[in-house]
Symmetry: C3
């Protein structure tokens, strides 16, 4: 039996009717079955592609991407996922558009969606803004569809907002599943999601929030570690706490990197900005207080600099289980002695984990493709089987 057929049989047992024609904002909106379905379809699409079997379910159609922040891997992951399914990416570059003229989100949303099947949005820069933008955008499409303006209602893939980064956390988790030989082996595994020092400022919180919100669902023992003052969004901690309780895992917070690393099976050391400071920054931007923004930046850089010892050094790695925890990062990392003088991780540690790190990133295109597949295909099990049976070649010769 092929891997795809195995996965299809697993998929058949899941209750996932709610995914069809639905959006993907946050992992905690989704049921366990729905997350399992994303993993299954991602693995199946990968299996088919690796066997040179076409997974093109669209003959034509557009995937619209909106990047309100720079991106390499998510941009290419989205492009790859769309292409794999037969959609062409059309990027809404706000610099080349008339949006500056004061166009409403409602209008933009409808104007780009007449032939769009999927919308991918990254908007992670401002606390309280990113998710709101995505929601406003998709509500406008609901309205457009209901009023007969749009013949179909494109579905959303959240490519990172201020709250969650689901394509990242799901790719991360699928990587963990493969590394640990199956989702059933995750129970009790110790995860250290910890802050780490970076010479740069204002990194989004959606990765740590996404990780604690997702990893706690699989019975893992998740520790969130950061210096005092680097709290994440309180709501995301609540999600983590609730998930841990429901899954038989654990969630706790500490203010010591050492404590989090001790005995950890997985470490995810990564810089982020304090939630409160990001709230303040959003306020300053709203008020147009340029001097205040500059002052805040200086304060935050100074605050960061007090915590240079929060770094994933060789010594720190020795504290982990058998000194061999799985090191994870969403990339790019600030690597001490390579991309900066002092950063999140020692070059020797980073370099030793290059293979699993890049492998981790390799799941993202398939996770995105699976999210699209499950929102656009009514009978995903049947579709996977039909694709395998048809056996169209991706590369003909």
């Amino acid at each position: 039996m092929s891997k795809t057929e195995q996965l299809a049989q697993g998929l058949e047992k899941l209750k996932i009717n709610g995914m069809y024609k639905n959006d993907f904002y946050w992992t905690w909106d989704k049921t366990d079955d729905e997350l399992a379905a994303v993993f299954a379809v991602a693995d199946a699409l990968r299996d088919l592609r690796e066997r040179n079997i076409s997974t093109r379910i669209f003959d034509s159609g557009l995937g619209i991407s909106i990047f309100r922040d720079n991106s390499t891997r998510t941009r290419f992951s989205f492009a790859s996922a769309c292409n794999l399914l037969g959609l062409e990416v059309s990027d809404l570059d706000e610099k080349k558009s008339q949006i500056a003229h004061g166009e409403t989100v409602r209008e933009t949303a409808n104007m780009v969606s007449f032939m769009a099947d999927v919308i991918g949005i990254r908007d992670d820069m401002f606390i309280e803004e990113g998710h709101k933008y995505q929601k406003t955008f998709m509500d406008a499409l609901d309205e457009g569809y209901e009023k007969g303006i749009l013949e179909q209602r494109p579905t959303l893939v959240n490519l990172q907002c201020d709250v969650d980064h689901p394509t990242q956390s799901m790719a991360d988790l699928l990587h963990v599943i493969h590394q640990f030989g199956g989702v059933e082996n995750l129970k009790g595994k110790k995860v250290a999601m910890t802050w780490a020092y970076s010479p740069s400022y204002g990194k989004p919180l959606s990765v740590p929030q996404g990780i604690i919100g997702l990893f706690t669902r699989f019975g893992m023992d998740v520790t969130l570690a950061h210096p005092e003052g680097y709290e994440v969004m309180p709501e995301s901690e609540d999600v983590a706490r609730k998930n841990a309780a429901a899954s038989g895992g654990a969630f706790r917070k500490v203010n010591s990197m050492e404590e989090a690393f001790r005995g950890a099976d997985i470490v995810y050391p990564k810089s982020w900005a304090p939630f409160k400071a990001m709230e303040k920054r959003t306020r300053l931007y709203r008020e147009g207080d340029k001097a205040g923004i500059d002052r805040l930046e200086q304060e935050l850089l100074a605050q960061n600099a007090q915590h240079k010892d929060w770094s994933c050094t060789e010594e720190m790695m020795k504290l982990t289980r058998e000194g061999r925890a799985l090191y994870m990062h969403c990339l790019p990392a600030d690597i001490t002695g390579l991309s900066c003088q002092e950063g999140e991780v020692d070059n020797s540690v980073f370099d030793r984990y290059i293979q699993p790190l890049y492998k981790e990133a390799s799941f993202k295109p398939y996770i995105i493709a699976a999210m699209i597949f499950l929102s656009k295909v009514k009978d995903p099990v049947g579709a996977l089987r039909a694709l395998e049976r048809a056996g169209g070649r991706r590369k003909a010769f």
Copy 2:
């Protein structure tokens, strides 16, 4: 009988041999039959897509877009149209090219066209320049094709020039046809194409020129209204006058928004810049007279500000037929109290017409696709029937 078959039967009766391998510059270059063919094919392509039937007539091929001015909806309409037919869009971004090195239009045109099937150009910023650029570009392709440099001669879709904006006016008219239940119901309908106040400056004239040049062909009673000094290109008024005479409609000019609105079935209030001022601006740019350009901008903004009463208010709307004229706009509009303090239209008016306004915009991708289809397909009737019969699915599952 399917809608597509009905439309194909209508199409069969039209004389449209001249469209094959031909360009689309201005609507007034085209016969009535040719315009009717664009509408029929646009509706048929929409019908097929809505029934999930593939209209992909190209297995590969490029649509080249050149935007010499910002664009959202036309950019996405062109991308959607190309994708619908199987062409991939390749955008000529003059900032990323070597054009700055002094390359001639003749050279650029040939260099990007070796595998191009269609060229879409927006060049609307400068009076006397936009159309000239398109013409020079396409003449170069004629030469390239005749000399055996190009194996095929791509066809042009004018995505807006200084004279006409045919993809806009055709989408607008198809919207009107649908709103009024058929082209046969347009005779005698009163249309108010009127200037409206905007706090911004230098908006193109191609929309009003395109509307009066096209709507007068269908027996409608078209009024062009603007404050003194806001004249459009005289040639486009001549076109409107001639068309009105031929179609049994009417064309007149007034200097009062009220007069135009009174009893109107359709109102199209929109800002534009005075033709004479735009001629002057082009001259100043040619001479590189930066101070003169700045002075002209100040003069024009001051001139605009004298006509803030030219706004599509609720009071103004009450003057129209039963107070319920169809409100139209090419978007984005300057909306009083939403995108600006005082603008072209009251927010309450605009908001009430959101559905028809967005619907109006939804025709543009299909209009562009129809223009491409008719210039690339020798037997459009046969092709539509073959596509419907083949019934290839756009989305497979």
Copy 3:
């Protein structure tokens, strides 16, 4: 027998097993058979396309382009080639990416390649850097593939580096083959690859280096002419010398444009920067010596200005064989009296050769497509025959 079948029969006799899954850096890495294969496949793909037969060998897949310098014709050639074979281009725009964060080439290379079939890179600005970047990039992909990060290893098409510009020189040579009625007619033909004056500064050396490295392989009598001080990379002269010896051709250097032109069958007058000066420039950039860079620019412009007599004038053309040598250029040229006051070529000469010049450029998309085809298709002869037999239509109607 079709042209494609003829070409397939020729291809069958060539030893080209080494091309499958291989990169294309420099023409001198390739055997004579391998170059002949590129020409044969390029001509066959063109023949099929001209007969409206689909050459789409990919159902989905990405071609990644990286332009570290501006480009029009190479950009569109790459886009055309990818599209012809069924690949979608995804451009890595370093301004929109997180590369500025200090990401390593190794990381970027892997991150964009998860679903990439081909990578096209232009990096021609800095001596000692361009090729190194390409090599580092592709080595990273080797590593990624070996470590199981990438399921397939994309292949490289060098779209211009500091050493060679193979898609240009190969397109140029295929043009020459067609102009002279076959590769067998090239023996003994006199080629003048000469420097020419340009008012701009710092043009890459890869074109002259590529031309002398390639044209000497076909028994031609190649002269490299430039003013003293405008030497090219010594290694590329060694290549030319060796090739000429092996092919029964000749290679010599002179410091007189007249001497090179006298009796020439082909002239290629083109500006470039002195190799030594470019080495110095790279050093200055590495040291961040802005003042030094500015000074060097002034020196080079002054040096250029001493050689304004190195121009392809009508008088100069009269020196060539029967005054009718084939004039070549990679375009865009600096044309005296058209794009600049004094430049590489008289407008009247350039204009007389417009047709062959544009024809020359028209080979580039096919050359690139052939390079991709030969690196991705295991049995190119079988594949060409299968494509012709299948007879899928590129444009359906």
